[in-house]
Each structure stands twice: as C-alpha cells, then as structure tokens.
C-alpha cells in the first residue's frame, strides 16, 4: 500500500529532474538554432539561474526579501579573481593583496568553490546579526549590507582595484559549465526545500507566531538557508566574472539586485519552478528588448527603442505582475510529474 505522503514525496523528487531537463532543452535549442549572441545569452541566463535559485533558497522558503544577495555575488567574483589571476598581473593591478593570495594561481573549479564558501562564511557572520530582525526590518538591513559591501569594494583600491575594473579573468564559462552549476543549485535547493529545516522555514513564512508556538526556531533555520543561499550566489558571481572576463563593484549592485528580484517576482517566489521559469522569461524578454534597442528594420524604416527603456519596461512588467498575478507566473506550483506516473504498477490511489 502506497501512502499519499509517499506519492507526494516522489512527485516532488521529479521537480529538479524536470527543471534540469528544461534547462538542457533550452541550451540545446539556443545552440542549435541561435546565432553567437544567442549562445552568449544562454550562458548568461544559466548563470542567472544559479544566482536566482541561490537567492530563492532563502527568499522563497523564508518569505523575507533580501536585497543583499548581489553583495555575495560581488564577493564571490572577487574571490575567484584573487585566486585565479596571473600573479604578475595581480602585482600591478592589486598591489595590496596579502602574499598568500598574491601568489595564488589556482584552477578555476576550486576557485569557484572557494568563492561560494567565502560568500557563505560572510553570510553566516552578517546573517547572525541581520536575521534577528523581523521580516521588513531585516530586508532593510540587507540593503544596508549591500551598500556597505559596495562602499568597501569601491574604496579599498589596493585590494579590489576600486571603481576601476579588474580585467583578465579566464573566460571559461560556456553554456555547459553554466548548466552544470545551475543544475547543482537546483538540486541543492530542492534538497533543502524537502529537508526538515526547509519545511520548518516555510512554516514560519506562512505564520510566524504559529510556527514559533510549535517549537520552531525561526532564527536558526533562516540563518541556515541564508548561508546556503549565499554559497550559490557567490558561485554565481564567480561564474559571471569568468563569463565576461572583467569585474567591477558596480556590476554587482542595484541593477543586479533589481534583475534578480524581478526574475523571482515574475516567476513566482512561492516555488523553485517559479524561480527557474522567471529567469527564463525575464532573460528572453531582456534579450528581445536589447535587440529592439539596437533597432530593427521594417520595410524602409528602422525602429529603435531609446536606450534605458529596457529597464523601464521590465520594471513596469514587474508592477503589473504584482497587481494582476501576485503569486507570479507559476503561482507557487512546482513543475512535477502527475501522481499516476509515479505510483508504479498495481497500486491503487487509495
């Protein structure tokens, strides 16, 4: 006899598999039919999947919006730059690095893992303070954290290069590398969401008072999710740096925060599938708008949107989603196989 609970668990286990297949199909289709720009768009989109799924681990499960996750991406990108750049180059670009870092010339994979771990450690330290606040106040404190990291990174010139960019990062991020990390993030996110801690955290999201009356320590679960989520944002930041090859503190500030938030809201913050679908939908929309800003020819005339209209349109779309479909495109549902596909032969539903 198979219980309803077992069926639910099996259905939930199909979600990460289906999402990974969706992303695989996305990469295969853009590489098969798209131009070079489409290939770049595919890598960029998958890096954003890593970032936004990481962000979702905290924001989706706890219901607390964080504005600070772009700061973890910033830290991740710089940690990877510090550990992988050619030492001769670091001596001229970043003369203030401590000797151990100045001589480091690591392989990119341990560098990406370290980027994630450093971001996670930073989240553990700052989250211990920030997450003691209630929901909205915690959001504002994460915003202060973002501004703090940006101020430090823009002024600590000997170590971070200040507002001038750090150049020369190895550009190893192909769509396939990005796909690997995106799938890893999705797996981790769905494992966390299915864990006891994830369940407890979602209980606090639904009703803080009832959850704490049931003996749930909200602070501890929030801190765990915050740390895990910062790991993937740190890795995502490292990937973003190694995708463009150039990093700069303002590349990981308000516009990235806005983009991550827009993706999560459009897709729907209530489910992991919402986060992934939101990234795909917003990335495709941004790509279309960027091409429109460059101009297109219809008959004899060329039309072009004024530069900057892309952000305005995305922002307006975000407001419209909030008004007319507050739970986002996926409305809190997960993409999963129907119950009769996972119950196996010879078992009845009841």
């Amino acid at each position: 006899m198979i219980t309803q609970h077992r069926i639910r668990r099996r259905m939930a286990a199909t979600t990460p598999v289906l999402l990974a297949l969706l992303l695989l199909a996305f990469v295969a289709l853009t590489l098969a039919f798209g131009d070079r720009a489409a290939g770049r768009m595919a890598s960029e989109t998958l890096i954003r999947v890593t970032l936004v799924v990481g962000f979702w681990i905290f924001a989706g499960n706890s219901g607390v919006i964080s504005f600070g996750h772009a700061a973890f991406a910033c830290v991740g990108a710089y940690v990877s730059a510090w550990t992988t750049l050619n030492p001769a180059m670091k001596a001229t670009l970043l003369p203030g690095l401590p000797p151990a870092l100045a001589e480091a010339h690591w392989h990119v994979l341990p560098a990406a893992l370290t980027a994630g771990l450093v971001a996670a450690a930073l989240a553990l330290g700052t989250g211990a303070a920030i997450l003691r606040l209630s929901g909205i106040a915690a959001s504002i404190a994460t915003f202060a954290f973002l501004a703090m990291v940006n101020t430090i990174w823009a002024n600590w010139t000997p170590v971070t290069g200040g507002t001038s960019s750090v150049v020369g990062l190895a550009r190893y991020v192909t769509p396939w590398v990005a796909l690997g990390w995106a799938v890893a993030a999705i797996l981790a996110a769905s494992l966390y969401a299915a864990s006891a801690s994830g369940l407890a955290l979602r209980a606090t999201r639904e009703d803080e008072v009832a959850a704490s009356a049931s003996g749930i320590d909200q602070y501890r679960h929030r801190l765990l999710a915050y740390t895990l989520s910062a790991f993937f944002c740190g890795v995502g930041g490292a990937l973003a740096g190694h995708f463009i090859g150039v990093i700069n503190p303002d590349g990981f500030y308000l516009s990235l925060t806005f983009l991550m938030l827009a993706m999560l809201v459009v897709g729907g913050i209530g489910s992991l599938s919402g986060a992934v679908v939101g990234v795909l939908a917003v990335s495709l929309a941004v790509e279309a708008l960027v091409r429109l800003e460059k101009g297109f020819t219809l008959g004899a005339t060329t039309f072009a949107l004024p530069p900057g209209s892309q952000e305005i349109i995305i922002a307006l779309a975000m407001i419209l989603v909030l008004v007319f479909r507050p739970a986002g495109l996926m409305a809190g549902r997960e993409i999963m196989l129907p119950a009769r596909w996972v119950t196996g032969r010879g078992t009845s539903q009841n």
């Binding site: 209630s134 909205i136 101020t151 308000l254 209209s309 975000m318």
Partner: protein, 302 residues
Amino acid sequence: MSLQLLFDALSLGGIYAIAALGIALIFGVMKLVNFAHGQFIACAVFALILPSTDAVAALGLGLLPTPLLILAILGFGAGLAMAAEALVFRPLRNASPVALMVGSFALGVALQNLLLVLYGGRPKAISLWAGLGAPVQIGPAEVPLLQLIVIAAVIAILLALGLMLKRSRLGLEMRAAAEDFGMAQLLGVRANHVISGAFALSGALAAVVALVMVAQTGVADVRMGGQIMLIAFIATVVGGMGSLPGAVAAGLAIGAASALLQAGLPDAARPFRDAFLYALVIFVLLFRPQGLFAAAGAKPRV
C-alpha cells in the same frame, strides 16, 4: 572646532530626519517601505532643469523667483508621490508588505531609468542660490549660511508637521490609521484621503531634501537620492518602524554619528565612513532589534 562640528551634525542630521520622516509617514499608514523615495528626491531635483542630454543644464522651473520656486518644487514632489500612489500603490492596497516593498523598488527603477532616458547619465551642474555658501561668523566658528538656513527650515518643518499631526483633522486621521488601519476605517476615516495625504506630505518632504541637496552640491545626478534614502531607511528601522518621533530622533543621531566619524576617523579610513556607519547601525540593532521607539502596532497581534 567643536561648535563647527555641532552645526555640521545638526544640519546633516536634520536632513536625514526629514528624509526619514518621508519614509516613516507612508510606512505608518500603509505598511509600505517606499524604495522609490530616493527617486522622488532625484525627480524633484531634475524638475528644476529642462530635459536634455547636454552636459550643461538649462534651468526650467529653477528660473522662478525663490518663493515661487520652493512652492513649485514642493508641489511637484507632492504631485509625483500622489500620482505614484494612485497608479501603483492603490491597486496594490491589499497586497502583503513584501509585495508593496518590491513594487516600490520596481517603481524606483522605472523612475531612475526614465530620468536617464530624458536627461542622460552624466551629472549636471546647477547653479542655484550660489550666495548661500558664504560663511557666517558665529563665535569662534565659521558656518556656511546654508547650514543655518537648513537647521532653521528643519526646525520649522518639524514644528509644523507636529502641529498638523496633533491638531488638524487629517493629522488625527493619520495617527489613527497608523495605530490600527482597519479600526480607523470602521470609525469613518476615509482610507484614500489619508493615504493620499500621507503620500503628498512624503513627496513634499522629498522635495525639501532635493532642494537642500542641490543647494549643497550644485549638481543634479540621477543617483543622488540613493544614499540618503538608505540612511533614511536605517533611521526608520533604528527608530522603530512606524514611529515618527523615533524616525526623527534616529535621523538626528545618524547625522551626528556621521559628522563625528567624518571628523574623527583617520584620513585612510575616511572613504569607508558610510561602511562604518552601516556597521554601527547593525550593531545597535543587535541590542535593540525592535528599534529605539517601537510603535504600538509593530508587534503582530495573535
């Protein structure tokens, strides 16, 4: 030297208090953390000049005689905030505070990029009231005239706002709405009226901040509202979300801390002043997570 520091602290803290009041007023009536407030400030600055992407700004509204100009900019700020309320926040009236906050963030991004499209990304010089930089001798200290005007204006605004909240009907309704919105509505407080009023006041306060910033820096920059909005947020959190006296007190305290850090930090650490300030605030919140003056409605009732 120390008298100079006092004036620095008072004028900076006063501006932070005005900005924090603009945030706290709206949070009080509709639990909205208005992330578009910084862009209201930036829009009020750019309303002074004509839209163009040239490097040199041509004054538009800025050409009016001073009293008219102040009225016009205050009116512009109030009108912009009321329009934002009617178009964006009224449809979201019943949404959760988180959705409201995200919506205001999106509105802020839209406004900022609208300014970028209309005016271009480069900072522009605006020469408005150039005479206000002249120093005035007070005892041993030389204080810029502008600082004295700012301090006087802040005191006047706080008194006027306090009287309005205590004595006028709209003020009474606003305080009632901040206490318990549902109950206030049942007792005949018109929701649209109160919320529009709060937005108009908040927009006018944003315009005050804009005028002071233009007079201080002489520059119009698309990003100029961001930093002061963040300080204002921090002040509302430190003061206790929704508490107006708390917002003012915390704004003044942050201004004082900022002036002290500016004077006391060694030269090498000065660029990191704001980072120290934010760290200090997070540290304060460790000991009083509910803020200095927690409002009555801040704790969830079961």
